[in-house]
């Protein structure tokens, strides 16, 4: 079969089993778009801005486990995609980005729409390639998918100069079944001796804590993690990226940890004597003050990326390997071990945890006459029976979503954890809805974040992706305002917008349904109504309490036991204080 470069590229995607390509055409990818025009196997989703394409592809990958694919043109097409590529990179999301480049002979001449895409993206991709010969195109694409999806996953960019896709140059096509790269051999199984040491340490623990992250989700290890945790009877906490890795409604789950984690999770980490970290990377939002992080604990760390181990926190038993096989081996060893966890120690540990749980750190004012954002998330959880895919933007609403929507399954909670990219939520919801057309998909957002990629409402109409936008509208960049309240004596410098669009009309202008909700008693019905409209995108604009803050909070630079708790009427903290 003789094909042109453009045709080869599209055929590669087809052979790779790619369902959707999220993209935007332009001069240097026109040959590729012409090849797309002549086929139906790979569906192209035309976004309204390249950032949207990357977030949609990224969320598609997060929800399905399959790599997301993006196609953008050279110059501004590529630079617009950078935010989304960096977002995927920080959260280790498998993604392949194909960017057009000016023709090889003019590279370096400051040609129209030329940028050094390989150079610009280098620090925020797992790897990138510049294709210099059409004969290497198919192999390069194969390598890109291979690198993106193996080891610690990540985005891989392939920069394709226009002459490479020339329709007049045809060559024999064959998609390689396998590629091997002498310089890239990700580790799979963990070191047996280390695993044995880890199990011994775990079984002898008096105050154990399991701390799991996004690696469990990416590594499809939620079942193993759940089995191990239940077998041991130990408490477990998840990072923001790890939510859904262990069922949130289970009694052994103590909530999320870190800056806005629960009192019981953070106190548990602080007092623990053995910590099992699974696919988590000791991010600063998780650890707080490093010098006082888990002062009494010996730490076991399982991670596929050796560079994650002892990067910020020195660990006692490092295990480099994929979390799934490592956990499987641990389960077998625990089953066979004569040592059993000490019942007495575990009982008093759980009693201590219960005393922290009794603080009821997520309680808020339920009598309020103004809509509380937490209430909206709780109602969303109930209306969707906890089964929705929830995407979010970045800020207070993201934390409320993480705290109050109890994720029992992996891949349901889709947010930009590492980079913290505002504008992620809406295009992400579209990507998820395309992958799971029958599922409920909600985008929890705020009036500031949603405006960063609002243009994707148009994409949502074109491809009929009826997502539900839950806008927690407090007329502030809530998280910025919160920090200014705590650390800048309430000098709210530019954390509010004097002009905010009428979101109901805006939604209608884009061809969707808009609903404004101003009273707490209307919240539940509005959500129900929205989810009953199966074939419509609904923009729910909840006018929420402007003054609400996210609690608990570990302020930057403070330790886990140094938490700011809510002082709300009737809560245990208030009772304690009064």
């Amino acid at each position: 079969m003789e094909l042109s470069g453009g045709q080869i590229l599209v055929q590669c995607l087809k052979d790779e089993g790619v369902e959707f390509v999220f993209g935007y055409p332009g001069g240097s990818v026109l040959h590729i778009y012409d090849a797309i025009f002549h086929q139906d196997d790979v569906k192209h989703i035309l976004v309204r801005h390249e950032q949207g394409a990357t977030h949609s592809a990224d969320a598609y990958a997060r929800a399905t486990g399959k790599p997301g694919v993006v196609l953008v043109t050279s110059g501004p097409g590529a630079t617009n995609a950078v935010t989304g590529i960096a977002t995927a990179y920080m959260d280790s999301i498998p993604m392949v980005i194909i960017s057009g480049q000016v023709p090889s002979p003019v590279i370096g001449s400051d040609a129209f729409q030329e940028v050094d895409t390989v150079g610009i993206t280098r620090p925020c991709v797992k790897h990138n390639f510049l294709v210099k010969d059409v004969n290497q195109l198919a192999e390069t694409i194969k390598k890109a998918f291979y690198v993106a999806t193996t080891g610690r996953p990540g985005p891989v960019l392939v920069d394709v100069p226009k002459d490479i896709t020339d329709p007049n140059i045809k060559i024999p096509y064959k998609y390689p079944k396998k590629v091997s790269m002498r310089s890239y051999n990700p580790v799979v199984t963990g070191h047996k001796g280390q695993i044995k040491r880890a199990v011994e340490m775990l079984l002898c623990a008096q105050r154990p804590m399991i701390y799991s992250g996004g690696g469990v989700i990416l590594g499809e290890a939620h079942e193993e993690l759940t089995e191990l945790t239940r077998m041991l009877g130990y408490p477990i906490t998840n990072t923001l990226m790890g939510l859904g890795g262990y069922p949130a409604t289970d009694k052994q789950f103590v909530g999320m940890l870190g800056m806005h984690g629960t009192y019981e999770a953070n106190m548990g980490m602080h007092e623990a004597d053995v910590i099992l970290a699974v696919g988590a990377r000791f991010d600063d939002r998780v650890t707080g003050k490093l010098a006082e992080f888990c002062p009494y604990a010996k730490i076991v760390h399982i991670d596929v990326d050796p560079a994650s181990i002892s990067k910020t926190v020195k660990v006692d038993v490092p295990i480099v390997g994929e979390v799934k096989p490592v956990l499987q081996q641990m389960i077998e060893l625990i089953k066979d071990s004569k040592t059993k966890p000490s019942k007495a120690a575990l009982e008093s540990w759980w009693q201590l945890i219960q005393s922290w749980r009794d603080v009821n750190c997520l309680e808020y004012d339920r009598e309020s006459r103004i809509i509380k954002p937490q209430y909206v998330v709780e109602q969303l959880y109930e209306v969707t029976n906890g089964n929705a895919f929830v995407t979010s933007d970045v800020g207070q609403h993201q934390m409320y979503a993480a705290q109050y929507y109890k994720f029992d399954k992996p891949r349901r909670w889709i947010n930009s954890g590492g980079l913290g990219t505002m504008g992620f939520g809406l295009p992400a919801a579209i990507g998820v809805k395309l992958a799971f057309p029958e599922a409920d998909v909600a985008c929890i957002t705020g009036e500031a974040s949603i405006q960063m990629c609002i243009q994707e409402l148009s994409t949502a109409l074109q491809y009929n992706t009826p997502v539900k936008i839950v806008n927690l509208n407090n007329r502030y960049m809530g998280m910025v305002r919160q920090w200014q309240e705590f650390s800048y004596q309430s000098r709210y410098s530019h954390s509010y917008m004097d002009t905010i669009p009428d979101f109901v009309k805006l939604a209608e202008a884009y061809g969707h349904v808009g609903i404004r909700v101003e009273k707490p008693e209307e919240v539940r019905d509005a959500l129900k109504q929205a989810f009953e409209m199966k074939d419509r995108t609904v923009f729910l604009d909840f006018i929420t309490d402007r003054t609400e803050n996210v609690y608990p909070m570990i302020e930057a630079g403070k330790a886990h036991h140094d938490m700011k708790l809510r002082v709300a009427p009737g809560t245990p903290v208030e009772r304690e204080l009064s």
């Binding site: 280098r122 510049l130 890239y184 990326d305 050796p306 181990i309």
Partner: protein
């Protein structure tokens, strides 16, 4: 502590900037860097001199290993090794100083490889501190220019850094 990291890396465009970019992005120290193809033209060997605490060096080697183009690396400072640097120095000479300069070059076992009535070009190899000592042996103003390769190194014994 000073470390000499030897890296086998794919001889591809952009490979060097991946290494250099890693150091600047993560704020690691880079004292010198030399690179040239090996006997296998598809591979380059890079020698990188850096310094930092054990934790930092551990992170540097892990992050370097994580680069897809890096095939293998070793930290030469961990075992017995030899390191050499090449220096070319252009030295101002007068009728009176020419003999003295030549003696200096002999003492340091260098070679004079270019001669004009008013200058010598000296070629010298050795450990970096030997080259430093040679330069410091001259009065200020007598050296016209210095071109140094930066150190490169190899481990002692039959074991080596290869595929």
């Amino acid at each position: 502590m000073r470390h000499i990291i030897s890296i086998l890396i794919e001889n591809e465009s952009g490979a060097l900037s991946r290494v250099a970019g890693l150091f600047s992005a993560r704020g690691y120290n880079i004292e010198s860097l030399t690179v040239a193809p090996t006997e296998d033209p598809s591979l380059s060997r890079m020698t990188l001199v850096t310094s930092g605490s054990d934790e930092i060096i551990e992170q540097i080697t892990k992050q370097l290993n994580k680069l897809i183009d890096v095939v293998k690396l070793i930290d030469l400072a961990e075992s017995a090794h030899i390191e050499r640097e090449l220096m070319l120095v252009k030295i101002k000479t007068t009728h009176e100083t020419r003999e003295e300069v030549k003696r200096m070059v002999d003492i340091f076992r260098g070679k004079i490889i270019d001669v004009t009535p008013n200058s010598y070009v000296v070629e010298m190899t050795g450990q970096s501190n030997k080259l430093d000592a040679f330069i410091h042996g001259f009065e200020e103003g007598s050296i016209i220019e210095v071109a140094r390769s930066g150190p490169t190194g190899i481990s002692r014994g039959e074991k080596g850094l290869h595929l």
